[in-house]
């Protein structure tokens, strides 16, 4: 059979085929099944990379590539001289690091707590409930928390009022300096359960005889947690930590866009919102592209840096 999969072709790789017209004809179905998607990826993923040239022009829509005015690094220089840029970088990094501190550690603690539960039905119920918010959109989450934090009749204000912690309702979503905290809390609410799955899976892989040995040595529950469970999931924790570092700058804009408003924008505007508002909203296309390039380059650098750490810490390549 001509198209026999296992047909040996010379010595080396038994599957390896030479690129000839005959092979192309033999593999015409494979080509028909893949080439349309290769065209798709070239159009939708690689043409926008070509669009990076816009950052070095004073791009005007409607003109051809050769009619554009070239300005070199002008937009990058403008970017680094814009005080707004430093503000959005501060906000992006602040929310990233808060996410790293709480969004990263709390799921580990949650997984450790769940691991202590011996009633399977109870454990399942808590897990089912805690994964749910991961699947609803940020629009819905923003709507839920706008309601919870409402000034007139919002549940959180009412609770604080009845406990006499505050004497008049607080406008939570209008206080700029609270925005980072509120956003981090809502993010933890949404992803706590979901992010704990990976640790729970890692915990099940720990050898039970280690616990038995620890008990023989007289270890209590916290000592078992500290000396057996945590070391058992150490490598998982490291991998997740390193991946999070790689994503430091790519925190997106959905939650900031949806929970933020004009009153808090000094604290809620992040890098992607800056691109949206300046690059598309104000039609400063070249400037917006330049910010996008800056973001891409920094995030690729972070990913490589994270990978380097991973290799150094003996976890192998993770990306």
């Amino acid at each position: 059979m001509a198209r026999n999969l296992t047909k040996a072709n010379g010595m080396g790789d038994p599957y390896k085929k030479k690129l000839t017209w005959k092979t192309l004809y033999e593999q015409r179905y494979l080509l028909m099944m893949s080439v349309p998607f290769v065209i798709w990826v070239l159009i939708f993923k690689y043409i926008p990379i070509w669009g990076w040239t816009m950052a070095f022009q004073n791009f005007r829509p409607g003109r051809s590539f050769f009619e554009q005015q070239w300005v070199g690094f002008k937009h990058f220089i403008d970017l680094f001289q814009d005080p707004m840029f430093y503000q959005v970088m501060r906000n992006t990094l602040a929310m990233s690091f808060l996410g790293l501190i709480f969004g990263f550690t709390l799921p580990i603690i949650f997984a450790l707590l769940l691991n202590e539960v011996r009633h399977i039905a109870f454990k399942r119920t808590i897990q089912t409930v805690s994964y749910l918010p991961h699947f609803v959109s940020w629009v819905i989450v923003a709507s839920l928390f706008t309601e919870m934090l409402a000034v007139d009749g919002g549940v959180i204000n009412n609770i604080l009022l009845s406990l006499n912690i505050i004497d008049k309702p607080v406008q939570f979503l209008a206080k700029g300096e609270w925005f980072w905290g509120i956003l981090t809390a809502v993010d933890v609410w949404k992803e706590l359960g979901w992010n704990s799955i990976i640790y729970l899976a890692a915990i099940t892989a720990i050898d039970p005889s280690l616990y038995e040995a620890a008990i023989v040595d007289g270890a209590g529950r916290f000592k078992q947690m500290w000396h057996v469970t945590l070391p058992g999931i150490k490598s998982t924790i490291l991998v997740i930590l390193i991946m999070n570092i790689g994503w430091l700058i790519s925190i997106g804009f959905e939650k900031q866009f949806l929970l933020g408003n004009n009153l808090v924008k000094d604290y809620s505007d992040v890098l992607d919102l800056y691109i949206l508002n300046y690059g598309i909203g104000l039609a400063r296309y070249s400037y917006g592209t330049a910010i996008g390039i800056f973001k891409s380059v920094v995030s690729i650098l972070l990913v490589f840096l994270a990978n380097l750490f991973a290799r150094k810490s003996g976890e192998g390549n993770i990306v």
Partner: protein, 296 residues
């Protein structure tokens, strides 16, 4: 292990309590908004609706479903979820199959072409111009085409297909089946577990999307989605409580509504489909995560 001391029991009690509190905090915002959506709008404004509706009514739902705009939104959300998921999963699986074939001459370059897209993107502005130049603005396919293939999904599918026994493919080839037939008759049925996992994730993503509507279809009323409608109401609430289209619309109908109740009701309408598929998802998503973990 068997005998548990009093101290142990106290710790147990604390852990259970803490977990119950976490569970309640997770569920409560949904319950609160459900209660508000089922409560009389004029009564809700007085505040104090916590767990259940004080003056039960279905008026909010009647009002919401009375808006032609919302019916369009529900229809578009449904269509993009169904069509988008079907096309994306079929395309990704077909591509993954060709990339799993060790004898395929372009296996390496094509794989690299897709994997590279996981590390960079052109950014918002160049993508916007691409969509514009492709005449996709204000076109339903703007919801389907740009996200047709996810490199990550292709890798997960490919590693699953790699794990299938090769003998089945070989015997089909001996029977003279072409590669497309092998894919549809043999690979697809065998890959159902991983396809189900990916389909659920793509479906949730499609259902939850709002930004593409915001950026590419906001001027076209026929392409609005539920999430986008909810987003607009939310933005109105956040900036100011001045009159919006929803309130004016309701006045014409003469029923009692408030933006707050309308928002709560649409929130529930947009959440319910997720709740319906959630039990099925639970079965698959842990499996999907493990698949991804094995690969990386």
């Amino acid at each position: 292990m068997l005998r548990r001391s009093a101290g142990d029991r106290v710790i147990d009690l604390l852990i259970y309590l803490l977990l119950i509190v976490i569970g309640v905090i997770t569920l409560y915002p949904f319950i609160n908004i459900l209660a508000i959506s089922l409560n009389d709008a004029a009564d809700t404004v007085k505040g104090g609706v916590y767990l259940w509706p004080r003056e039960f009514t279905l008026d909010n739902y009647k009002t919401v479903f009375g808006y032609p705009q919302l019916l369009t939104a529900a229809k578009v959300s449904f269509l993009r979820t169904v069509i988008g998921t079907a096309l994306s999963v079929f395309s990704s699986a077909m591509l993954a199959y060709t990339l799993s074939r060790k004898d395929f001459v372009f296996r390496k370059p094509f794989t690299i072409l897709f994997i590279l897209t996981m590390y960079f993107s052109g950014g918002m502005v160049p993508e916007y111009f691409l969509i514009r130049d492709l005449k996709l603005i204000g076109n339903f396919w703007v919801y389907i085409l740009p996200g047709l293939i996810g490199a990550w999904n292709v890798i997960v599918l490919r590693s699953y297909i790699d794990g299938l026994p090769i003998s089945l493919q070989e015997s089909a080839q001996l029977d003279g089946a072409n590669d497309f037939v092998i894919f549809t008759r043999i690979i697809l049925p065998l890959a159902v577990p991983v396809i189900a996992t990916i389909a659920l994730f793509v479906a949730v993503f499609q259902w939850n999307s709002w930004f593409d509507t915001f950026l590419y279809a906001s001027s076209d009323k026929n392409l609005t989605t539920l999430q986008y409608e909810l987003m607009k109401i939310l933005q109105n609430t956040n900036t100011s409580m001045n009159s919006d289209s929803w309130r004016t619309g309701s006045n014409q109908q003469g029923s009692r509504v408030s933006p707050q109740s309308i928002r709560a009701t649409i929130t529930i309408v947009a959440t319910v489909p997720i709740l319906i598929v959630y039990p099925f998802m639970q079965k698959y998503f842990v499996q999907g995560l493990t698949l991804g973990a094995v690969k990386s």
